[in-house]
């Protein structure tokens, strides 16, 4: 059995709608609904005309990636490739081998194909995030001129170009030409090559720029860097989660508040500040 061009195109569209993190259909529907392999199984089944078969293929993949979290834009595996490249390819392979969709062999095959294409999704994710930089920087330039019309264009329209290049075309190619194309692409863009290494390194370093911009917005004078450095230490050296770190931060905020209130109250007679309403 072969995937037809039409089918491949439909799969490409789904992968665009369902990207991990920047999905064309947004977070709730795109990322956390269509992106999940179980749901992917349903849609692949509709496209290939065999819903029960595709869902059976999808189940072991879904189990594999069930508790996937992507904190701060670090994506261990982008499931769009698992759902809309992995499931179709596995479906074809299982059918080709004449296996039962619910059999253990089919499950094994599904999982190994999921692993094969898993990182392909990650490459798509980082590629998308990088290409979006262009739209954003054009956006900043326009915003400088108070041209607010660009907001929806930058945020919703232009990323579609990114998706077309980074997500749609590869998905169509890989599902249409089959598993061998996946490995071809992986050989053309090796992970230990300059391009991939640089792209992932940039992905690691760029948040530093964003956080520095944020830092600038809350830092007024050099001594404001002290609380910031303190926050860094409790997070990195002490390994506090963000919630625990914010509770530690809160006691300092409380002291600051009481100190400021004390400054005001002293001399004015009332020695007890009022925190009831906070």
């Amino acid at each position: 059995m072969q995937i037809s061009l039409i089918e491949a195109i439909l799969l490409g569209v789904m992968s665009v709608l369902a990207g991990s993190t920047p999905a064309a259909l947004g977070t709730t529907v795109g990322n956390y609904t269509l992106n999940r392999p179980l749901i992917g199984g349903l849609f692949v089944g509709l496209i290939l005309g065999d819903v029960p078969g595709a869902i059976q293929i999808a189940i072991p993949m879904q189990v594999l990636y069930i508790a996937l979290v992507t904190p701060g834009g670090t994506v261990a595996a982008d499931l769009r490739a698992v759902s809309y490249i992995g499931i179709p390819l596995a479906y074809v392979a299982v059918k080709g081998a004449g296996l039962d969709f619910g059999s253990e062999q089919a499950g094994g095959l599904a999982v190994s194909i999921a692993a094969l294409v898993g990182t392909v999704g990650t490459v798509m994710f980082y590629g998308t995030a990088m290409m979006n930089l262009f739209w954003q920087h054009w956006g900043w330039a326009e915003l400088e001129k108070n041209n607010f019309k660009v907001l929806p264009i930058v945020d919703a329209v232009l990323p579609l170009i990114t998706h077309f290049v980074i997500s749609f075309i590869p998905t169509v190619l890989m599902t249409y030409y089959g598993q061998s194309v996946v490995t071809d692409i992986q050989q053309a863009l090796p992970m230990d090559g300059l391009i991939m290494k640089t792209m992932f390194t940039v992905g690691n370093i760029l948040p530093a720029v964003g956080i520095a911009i944020l830092l600038k917005s809350v830092v007024d004078k050099a001594s404001d860097l002290i609380p910031y450095a303190f926050g860094f230490v409790i997070s990195k050296s002490l390994g506090l989660t963000l919630v625990a770190a914010s509770l530690v931060a809160a006691i300092f905020a409380l002291f600051h508040y009481r100190m400021e209130m004390a400054k005001l109250s002293s001399g004015s007679g009332h020695s007890k500040y009022d925190e009831e309403d906070i």
């Binding site: 701060g72 990088m130 919703a156 956080i211 910031y228």
Partner: protein, 281 residues
């Protein structure tokens, strides 16, 4: 503060703001600004409603230019709160300024990301999927449909509710706390933001070097990252942020220039072996 002509965000603008955020929070994600554009698109509905002149609008929007990132679903509440704050600011509250707004955004984005990622993405979704997997055993479509309906209904309801609650909270908070108390609170919020930006730095920036020196037998006798950890864990991760901050704040470099410089550094670092993500397919 009592006899002012109250400005109020229209329900329509509020709804528009919600849906923009709901849809667009991550659609133009980059590693540099992450969810900033989604935030601006959403908040602009509110600003547009509250101010007259283009200049004013542009000026107010600037508070939302910096980096923003959180778990976007629970993060609805941040957007709602700032909508309420914008309203208060439009009504002349002097305690709401860019620094305070950024303090609040920074102070909330981190912990909410932690809660959202763990509770919604890491617990609620997997539990729903686990149930759905049971229902879909043998290839049945029931499980998938169950997940689609339950997840989207509950999630969207939750997001809408906390967005509106946040809006009310943001508005009333600055109304109740007035005068000196508000000034004190403002300082506390900014301090909280400063600390949490540091914590975010620790949690979300992870720059390390794999550089090692080996002897003739190929045994490592010197590991650079290990030595750097001896000074302080995460030295490169805070060092890069401080470098970028210094370039922008003290050398007046544009973010774009800094970003290009960072890409250059990444490239050169990869070339000389200082950086290496060490991934494989």
């Amino acid at each position: 503060m009592s006899s002012r002509v109250e400005k109020k965000v229209s329900k329509k603008a509020l709804n528009a703001s919600f849906w923009r955020w709901w849809y667009g929070n991550l659609t133009c994600f980059t590693h540099e600004h992450m969810q900033t554009f989604g935030y601006m698109w959403s908040l602009f509905q509110v600003i547009d409603d509250l101010y007259e002149t283009t200049e004013e609008k542009g000026e107010k929007l600037r508070a939302y230019w910096p980096f923003f990132n959180t778990e976007p679903q629970i993060g609805c509440i941040v957007v709602g709160i700032t909508a309420g704050l914008e309203e208060a600011r439009a009504n002349g509250d002097p305690n709401v300024d860019d620094e305070m707004i950024n303090g609040i955004r920074a102070g909330l984005m981190g912990p909410l990301a932690g809660i959202g990622d763990s509770l919604i993405v890491g617990t609620y979704i997997p539990v729903l999927l686990a149930v759905a997997l049971g229902l879909s055993e043998g290839g049945s479509v029931i499980g998938a449909l169950f997940y689609i309906v339950v997840w989207n209904a509950t999630s969207i309801y939750f997001q809408y509710t906390i967005f509106m609650r946040g809006y009310e909270l943001g508005g009333t908070a600055v109304d109740i706390i007035v005068g000196d108390q508000a000034t004190a609170l403002r300082g506390a919020v900014v301090l909280l933001g400063q600390i949490i930006v540091g914590a975010i730095n620790g949690a979300w920036v992870n720059i390390t070097t794999p550089l090692e020196f080996k002897n003739a037998q190929g045994e490592v006798f010197l590991n650079l990252q290990g030595q750097l950890n001896g000074i302080m864990p995460g030295l490169l991760s805070i060092g890069f942020v401080l470098l970028c901050w210094w370039l922008m704040a003290k050398k007046n470099m544009k973010p774009l220039t800094v970003m290009l410089l960072m890409i250059l550094i990444a490239f050169v670092g990869v070339l000389i072996g200082f950086f290496d993500p060490q991934l494989h397919y």
